[in-house]
Symmetry: C2
Subunit: 328 residues, 2 copies
């Protein structure tokens, strides 16, 4: 088993042929490390530096057919996306991602290159954020399932939760909004272009650096946009007991998005307001805080009222908002 | 949805009826916290104290039908076991468990009480080790899948890996060996007793405290027994480039285990040497180190030879050893 997993010429074709330990070796051999990794994969547990004396941790689970499709995304893209959505959660606390752990369920008949390319994707996305994969578990099951846990370090800043927004704060966003949703619509209609949106759906690019930067600028509340802007601002508004009003004229709806919206009969504002999975970072700031160039002020925090937690141009946004994975 | 999940009288009967956010509320409401938890469930990520400036982390995945059966184990027991096997990995590095994250896949038609009782089990096992559940993710899928990540703190000790065993060291174990395997045999033959073994299979009791204690006593290598004693000592021997010889006469094979072995036609030594899932802690120590009462010296570390990594009474152990989850 050792020689067959080590040599490229006789690599077994399925994970069942390779076996549990062979697959673990195959995946582990693809990893790179960082100076934060004290004990990496291959022992009972990993040991990772936590210089702040606090560790930030988040877990996300992706199930084939529900969160990704093998005919829409390569294994590599699924890995990039799974790692990205987890590290976006770390960044949205104001922390810097340091390490990832992978819990993977694979059918025995799956070709080995699928988990191998998945691992390459996870590794490469981790490297974007200067983090490393430090451990995990691989088991057999009928449905491909990817459970990732991300760890991060606060670097002596205070965590920015969802509950600190105050009336008068400005609401600002950085990163992409609606691109993944537009790509999802395109793919679900059987198209593979425009590439920009399809690529955004397959491989989001969260602005990891923006989380710690926002914390340093005094963000009062923060989250990443995973369920859709209205839904995720709703979480902030609910936790902070405020109302948030979004000014739609401030949202960036690129011309390309109008074009594709017209082609498929969708108001592109719908994608921007309710599309998740781009993992933009949205935060509230004291109104007087000047923000860096890539932040866009899109609304303000108001006192709670009889209106919904989130309004758009002062009125309820009545179209479907956010994802409820059990119902949709 | 809020009122139906909050009030006990109209609790929805399935997770699909309750919905994603309702289920998360239901599960989160069952949790308790500790002073190590700075930010608990409900935000983008949790924040947990890491006083040592290093965090220990391990992920394990359990899939229904492969790692547990709903007709053999209650949801509560599955939760206890899933948490236990993860925290045993933390203890086996010499660390103290601090926090758990849960990635859970559940079918929409599953009764809500199943994940609720699972969460109770995870919470209660965490409390045994003074740890807390701090976050996670719940998604829908066809097969119940439980992915747990455990975090721990080294408390200023050095991690004890699998690679430090030296010829001349003593091999010692604490905890239970073979009880879970005996219980598995009993259950797979359609029996529900003897209770002691069945309970050991359903709910292992890893000696969490023994891991940090062994580190303090100068353990040179350590692991928990999850794959079976011979297999797990094999990991130490391989990583440490040594041979390990187990003296079978030193192993504790209780009279009850002989009785049930006779009844089902199994040599009980087979359970003790190859049965996993009790999560005993096995470690190597300098030969002169006196060990506390509950440790049992069961063999010694030798220079590598032409023999297998692990021998029993000086000879290869030729019966099936350990689990290979992809093949069994």
């Amino acid at each position: 088993m050792l020689s067959s997993s080590g040599g490229r010429s006789h690599t077994p074709s399925t994970v069942g042929e390779l076996g549990e330990f062979g697959l673990i070796r195959e995946l582990t051999a693809r990893l790179t490390t960082t100076s934060a990794v004290r004990v990496g994969p291959g022992d009972d547990a990993a040991v990772v530096s936590a210089p702040d004396r606090r560790v930030v941790a988040s877990t996300d689970v992706l199930v084939e057919g529900r969160h990704f499709r093998r005919d829409w995304s390569t294994a590599y893209d699924v890995g990039r996306k799974a790692a990205a959505q987890n590290m976006a959660d770390i960044a949205a606390m104001g922390a810097v991602p340091t390490a990832l752990l992978l819990g993977l369920v694979v059918p025995a008949e799956l070709a080995v290159n699928w988990p191998s390319e998945l691992m390459d994707g996870i590794r490469d996305e981790a490297r974007v954020a200067a983090a490393a994969v430090v451990g995990g578990d691989v088991v057999r099951g009928d449905t491909i399932t990817v459970a990732i846990t991300a760890l991060g370090d606060m670097r002596n800043q205070e965590p920015v939760t969802r509950s600190g927004a105050r009336p008068g704060d400005a609401v600002a966003v950085t990163g992409w909004l609606g691109w993944s949703a537009a790509g999802h619509t395109v793919l679900s209609r059987g198209f593979r272009s425009p590439r920009a949106f399809v690529e955004a759906h397959r491989r989001p690019e969260p602005p990891y650096h923006a989380g710690p930067a926002a914390a340093a600028l005094g963000a009062t509340a923060m989250t990443d946009v995973s369920d859709g802007l209205v839904a995720d601002l709703g979480h902030i508004a609910e936790c902070s007991k405020v109302r948030i009003d979004v000014r739609s004229a401030e949202l960036d709806v690129p011309a390309q998005m109008y074009d594709i919206g017209q082609a498929v009969g969708v108001d592109p504002l719908q994608w921007v307001l309710t599309g998740g999975e781009d993992h933009a970072i949205v935060a509230t700031f004291p109104a007087e805080q000047k923000l860096p160039a890539r932040w866009r002020t899109i609304g303000e925090v108001l006192a709670p009222s009889a209106l919904p937690h989130v309004t758009v141009d002062g009125a309820p946004w009545d179209k479907a908002g956010g994802w409820n994975h059990f119902r949709d």
